[in-house]
Amino acid sequence: MATATPTQAAPAQRIAAGQKTVTFEIWRGEKGKGEFRAYDAEVSEGMVVLDVIHKIQAEQAPDLAARWNCKAGKCGSCSAEINGMPKLMCMTRLNSLPIDKPVRVEPMKTFPSIRDLVTDVSWNFEVKKKIKKFQPRAPDAPDGTWRMRQADADRVQEFRKCIECFLCQDVCHVLRDHHLHDRFIGPRFFVYSAALEMQPLDTADRLADLRLRDGIGYCNITKCCTKVCPEEIHITDNAIIPLKERVVDEFFDPLGKLFRRFRGE
């Protein structure tokens, strides 16, 4: 299993030994209204953006709101936009950023702002409740257990790496720019659906929901979700496109359907 690691830097941007003063433009405000405020912070080699946020909290702005927890890229709490790209603050090393210019840190734009860098991501949990749950087939053995091959388990294991940071939801233009939250569940929940739909023991059929209610057709394969995923899940290639193909099987491929009917499937 791949472990999320802080982004490596271009050599030209490495911080020399010792300290350096860097300007951070941090969005300050409540419920969508606010402004960017500049803070100068002393930084040193090895620091990540979340370190700087904590330093600014400690030394200059004790009321600066930022959500964080594990500081190890596993809890998915410190999602924000750094220089315009959705990233985990705890996994973004300063030497991966052009720190000769001000570094801009702002909250995710796809979800309602609560305060400063904190957004309300509860919509995602409501969406998750709507997706059909795991429905296993009858047990394979008399003792109530199942048998499945490792290779089949491996395929869906990738999707289990998701830490629900919602960076993929934030970057997806269908939610971010077009605000189709009522018609589109977003990349995170296509990954979740794929984990269930491709699970060898599962018997539930989610294809009609994916097409009609969840709006998989709105995805136009920009691959931005894959690009920002800190767990390096191949969201587009391994989850969304395979689900799109299953929807094609069911609704847009009459010859394939006829062929399967002849084979008695």
């Binding site: 091959r149 089949d152 569940i185 060898p200 709105y218 193909e245 299953r246 099987d249």
Partner: protein
């Protein structure tokens, strides 16, 4: 679906907090695809210089009607072809590989960004307010991709046959630089076509128990390996198919001289 109250702050076209050269990638895609479309359209409409010795340009293969010995139905254009249109044998066939690339998952994502700014790049403001995606007409037709895949597989066999034909010189078996150009083209087209997302689904991805058949699993793993490099092979094969036509064309025009290797 749950509702959400997100203040709709729609950025202007191109508005972003990104400080990198986000415009470079869509610009490169725009230029790369535009150059290919312009060249291939021009070459397809020429109707001449598409064969040289045993070589046949991939834009004209299979040659249904034409003045080359490879033509399936002779030199005259079909009687049903409208007289007011300029005839070129390439026009009869190029819709199939063109449709395969147009509906390809990789190219879709690339040209939506580069040609339609939908979006221009990740987290960059879009020019339009409305959005239908591939949910409604016309882009729902992209779901026809697997049918173009079937045609592309047939074309791959025909192009491989052209490579074999390209070894038949008047004095017997031989290999020229043109033979190798056509061979490289087929290999790259094969890597692109066999890495197709639809093929990956049809060959095993449709099943939740891929490992139930070892042959199916082996095929799925091979296609998945190529699928991981789909973008690379999409561009390499696009270049190779254009270059193959250019090579044959320039040889036929007497500008380049084909070198016989053995």
């Amino acid at each position: 679906m749950p509702q959400i109250d997100v203040p709709l702050v729609r950025g202007r076209f191109g508005e972003t907090s990104r400080s990198d050269a986000w415009w470079l990638q869509p610009l490169a895609v725009f230029l790369g695809l535009s150059i290919f479309i312009v060249y291939s359209t021009w070459a397809a409409l020429q109707g001449n210089n598409y064969h040289f010795g045993p070589y046949l340009s991939p834009f004209y293969s299979p040659l249904l009607y034409g003045d080359a010995p490879f033509a399936w139905f002779g030199p005259d254009k079909p009687s049903w072809f409208p007289t007011f249109l300029p005839f070129s044998a390439a026009m009869l066939i190029l819709w199939a590989p063109g449709g395969f690339r147009f509906t390809c998952y990789y190219y879709r994502g690339a040209y939506y960004k580069a040609f339609w700014s939908d979006p221009p790049n990740c987290t960059v403001g879009e020019p339009r307010k409305s959005y239908l995606g591939e949910r409604f007409f016309p882009l729902i037709l992209q779901n026809v991709h697997r049918y173009f895949l079937y045609l592309a597989l047939v074309f791959l066999v025909l192009l491989a046959h052209d490579v074999w034909e390209a070894t038949k010189f008047p004095d017997g078996f031989g290999v020229g630089v043109g033979t190798l150009v056509l061979l490289a083209n087929v290999i790259l087209l094969g890597c692109y076509t066999f890495g197709c997302h639809s093929l990956r689904h049809l060959i095993g991805g449709f099943s939740d128990r891929i490992s139930a058949s070892s042959a199916r699993q082996a095929c799925y793993n091979c296609v998945s390996g190529l699928n991981g490099r789909h973008m690379r092979f999409a561009w390499m094969s696009l270049f190779s198919v254009g270059f193959s036509d250019l090579y044959v064309r320039l040889c036929a025009m007497g500008i380049w001289r084909d070198v016989r290797l053995f």
